[in-house]
Symmetry: C2
Subunit: 403 residues, 2 copies
């Protein structure tokens, strides 16, 4: 494809491309570029937040470029301090290996398996000696590191920053040197690290990579960045029903951001829907239904997406359950063999004040689990995905297993 | 010797012992201690400033302890940033090796050669991998490093601090871990680094070394710390006459500090001299003469010390030359084959305004070199050590070759 047209496609939905003219120039001179995406395998599950970048990588692949999915097995020993308030717990090599494996499998659901090279940065980082580290560190100053927002904040609030955390951006930068990457992608929270890599590549006599930042995706709460630890995520491996239900729970303001960043619908189509939505011709629930079905279709196919839609309608759309109900995040420590006692759950969620009240409510027939009446006070409920617990006609709680 | 008595001897003339009770305890339980002194071979010449610590090490040796003179050949690749305003120029391996050799030879003039183990820290530091560096770095925080005075000042004045400089104190600390040192000595400017070593030894499960700081010695200018780069130093390898002359040039206020830190005279004797001095019974020039002779004796023996005294008296004590005369530091680049043209020197020092004035002064018999009249306008003066250039009866300049 014509380089100028490629740049236009790549630019779509990005936050920044530094620099677009360099990107154009490099496509013209090299043809096929090495596009790096670094992943910290501290968490094995890929959610829709990650998919924003992965889908852009897929776009590069479709334009004929080479994607390198770089598993930071070495850097994971520290964990990216970006945006963190406290130091991370270091992971064991076993945890890292298991996470990397799962991550890779999941990422290849979005990326072309044949057009993706998966590499591990321990390959070069683990053989660096102290003198190489000193050489690397000498190319960056303390002041530059402290300029990074999260480090500034931690330093000012007197939260400890381990010296090893300062080495993190340098390791990531050295990866770009080792790979001689042409382009690196990341979320906007990675901008600092990506820029350091440009600087370090220059210090090592390489032309600096073009960096592309993608928007951060808010989670189902509509406020914070989607993240497993915040419990507001939608995993790409979640079962269709659960994925569908979670998309339905996002706030209306996010519907079209999700459409743009998470589906393959073309901009014209999204724009038409958005206009209809704003003019009151497309109901939010209807719009969200289309979004949910489209996302489930991408990961599970058309048939399962339709089934998820049907099941959701069956449970939630009889007019009995309101659209917005409070969430209760259930501590996994309270679940035994995947199950929890219904009486305990009624108490934990506050729907019953005591065990005897919970029993009484069940015996009176006032308790429902996903719309089905609960009749047995000894019921052990299997917990898989998301559910609705209901007492009487008006009290509902959405039960979500905490990550 | 009785442990308590040892501690008293060790404590003498130190600034701090952290902690004295630990030192006592360790002498009691271990008998012979490993005493570390780290040296950065960025400058090959040992001067009296260094001798303050070396003499204390000698004291440890005389008490039966083992001294490790640690040549920081690895750390010299960075250079200790302590007290520095700017980053240092890294040294080449050849420079480091040559410096280390000279340093070692000179240090063994003060230390017992048989009781001194000389080690190089590249032995363990060069084989550390990136992961070991990360482990090491994780035991210290950025805030802790920035607390160090010189780093604070540089950060606040926006002088760049290279990230590798933050690793310096950690390398020095790791040396203590590798050596399992019981005691480490240093000047007061090393206190921060010595404390970091205590902390890191604890992190690696070792009992923390006892640290001992020695006073910083002012140079011949009486204001700044003795240092080769400031040109105010007295090298222990300088020829007797030069050494004697330089000691004679120190300000009176330093006489007894020098006696205490640089000679083996016992405290009672020094105290008596000091009282006589304060009561006006001992003339400063007389006191300084005794000091100079004693210092020269330590490094060159009695005979040469006496000769230096005689020669100094012959030149400077005919009542013709004032005690305090301005110094001119001669750039070695201006010296050819160890010599400089007398006319040029008169101009450089400002004693003559032009070449023709210089010639005229010489022809009139008004120029003296170390008290001897200069008659030849073509004279090439050999420059070795320190000299006095004189014009007429009142103008004197002390010529010192800049390091």
């Amino acid at each position: 494809m014509d380089p100028q047209k490629q740049v236009e496609l790549i630019r779509k939905n990005t936050v920044e491309v530094i620099r677009e003219e360099e990107l154009l120039e490099r496509i013209k001179t090299r043809g096929s570029l090495k596009v790096k995406y670094g992943v910290d395998p501290t968490s094995p599950d890929i959610h829709l937040g990650h998919s924003v970048v992965l889908r852009k990588l897929r776009c590069f692949q479709e334009l004929g470029h080479k994607v390198i999915l770089l598993i930071g097995d070495f850097t994971a020993r520290i964990g990216d301090p970006s945006g963190r308030v406290k130091m991370r717990r270091p992971l064991s090599p076993e945890e890292i290996e298991a996470n990397a494996k799962t991550y890779r499998e999941q990422a290849l659901k979005i990326l072309h398996p044949q057009k993706t090279e998966v590499l591990f940065n321990s390959k070069w980082l683990s053989s660096l000696h102290f003198s190489d580290v000193l050489e690397l560190a000498s190319h960056c100053t303390v002041a530059r590191m402290l300029e990074r927002d999260d480090f500034t904040q931690r330093y000012q609030s007197e939260y400890p920053i381990g010296l090893h955390e300062f080495l993190y951006p340098l390791m990531q930068a050295y990866d770009s040197v080792a790979l001689r990457s042409d382009v690196e992608l990341g979320g906007t929270d990675q901008k600092f690290n990506l820029l350091v890599a440009r600087q370090i590549q220059r210090s090592y006599g390489q032309p600096p990579q073009i960096i592309i930042t993608m928007p951060m995706l808010e989670g189902t709460d509509g406020r914070q960045k989607m993240s497993k630890s915040l419990g507001n995520y939608i995993g790409i491996n979640e079962p269709p029903d659960q994925m569908y239900g979670k998309v339905m729970s996002i706030p209306d303001e996010l519907i079209f951001k999700y459409f743009r960043l998470l589906t393959s619908l073309d901009e014209r189509e999204i724009h038409l829907k958005e206009r209809a939505f704003k003019e009151g011709k497309l109901h939010p629930k209807e719009a969200k239904g289309q979004l949910a079905k489209e996302i489930v279709r991408l990961y599970w196919g058309k048939t399962l997406a339709e089934k998820a839609e049907e099941r959701f309608e069956a449970i939630f759309s009889k007019g009995e359950i309101p659209e917005k109900i409070p969430c209760y995040f259930l501590d996994p420590a309270k679940i035994k063999d995947g199950k929890i006692w219904v009486v305990r759950l009624l108490q934990l969620t506050g729907l019953a004040q005591s065990g005897s009240e919970a029993r009484r409510l069940i015996l009176q027939g006032g308790v429902r689990w996903d719309g089905e009446r609960v009749r047995d006070v000894n019921l052990e409920i299997p917990l898989e995905g998301e559910h609705i617990l209901q007492v009487g006609k008006r009290k509902f709680v959405r039960i979500v297993k905490k990550a």
